[in-house]
């Protein structure tokens, strides 16, 4: 698929896809766009994988403006741990999704999602 129609299709029919493989620049653009499907760049994890090593990082930056205020959302970093566990073959990784669903539905949330600061 060409990238212009792919961008449109990912927004209109995201349910149609299971795995999408892209070149570097187009993937950079599409992956940030797809974070809007989830809700925010601040909520999504990423992995960088090689033949030998795997590197896991939240997509968000260091956000110096909110650092030290106890309001940073750890969900993306926690989802990185899930990706790490899955990569190393640990079968219990889905429990992280369950735990996240539990806190989100109980509204135990950071201010970016409408919650109050931790301290």
């Amino acid at each position: 698929m060409l990238v212009d129609s792919m961008a449109y299709s990912l927004m209109m029919h995201p349910e149609k896809y299971d795995v999408v493989v892209t070149t570097n620049l187009f993937g950079d653009i599409l992956s940030d766009m797809c974070a809007a499907l989830v809700g925010s760049l601040g909520l999504v994890p990423s992995a960088n994988i090689g033949e030998k090593y795997a590197f896991f990082e939240p997509v968000h930056g260091s956000a110096p403006d909110i650092a030290g205020k106890g309001i940073a959302n750890p969900l993306a970093a926690i989802l990185c741990v899930k990706m790490l566990l899955e990569w190393m073959g640990e079968q219990r990784y889905p429990v992280i999704d369950e735990a996240i669903a539990h806190v989100l539905l109980k509204k135990i949330i950071t201010p970016d999602l409408g919650g109050r600061p931790a301290h």
């Binding site: 349910e15 620049l25 993937g27 809700g39 994890p45 090593y53 909110i66 650092a67």
Partner: protein, 163 residues
Amino acid sequence: MKLAVIEGDGIGREVIPAAVKVLDAFGLDFEKVPLELGYTRWERTGTAISSSDIETIKGCDAILFGAVTTVQDPNYKSVLLTIRKELDLYANIRPVKPLPGIIGVTGRSDFDFILVRENTEGLYSGIEEIGPDLCWTKRVVTRKGSERIAEYACKLAKKEGIN
């Protein structure tokens, strides 16, 4: 299993300790190797990442990384680009899955896919020139780069049970 834990700067120092607590709850046999890299380290020592850091990281199996603040200084060596290149991390993986109770721009929550992005070539080759009338960048697509990312995506699709 050896895991390099790099909190980095800013909120990296808050979200990574939270994530490590989750990891610890699994009770797995991890040797955690903490490393201080990034802007804070650069301010203190003049180096964001050194060759001995790279060696330490290469002695690990995986890396859990927070975030680093990048500064516009020609002497500042990008931590992320250095690690990506040194470890030849060719596949960038971004799961796209809704979170319960969180509504994205389209308002729907019936999607669940994985974006696999080639991470070493294409238009980010760095082979470029800026002239008075012409600027160009070479878009590099190699057989090796294309095959390994396609193979990775196909293996992933198979693992996920997709036909």
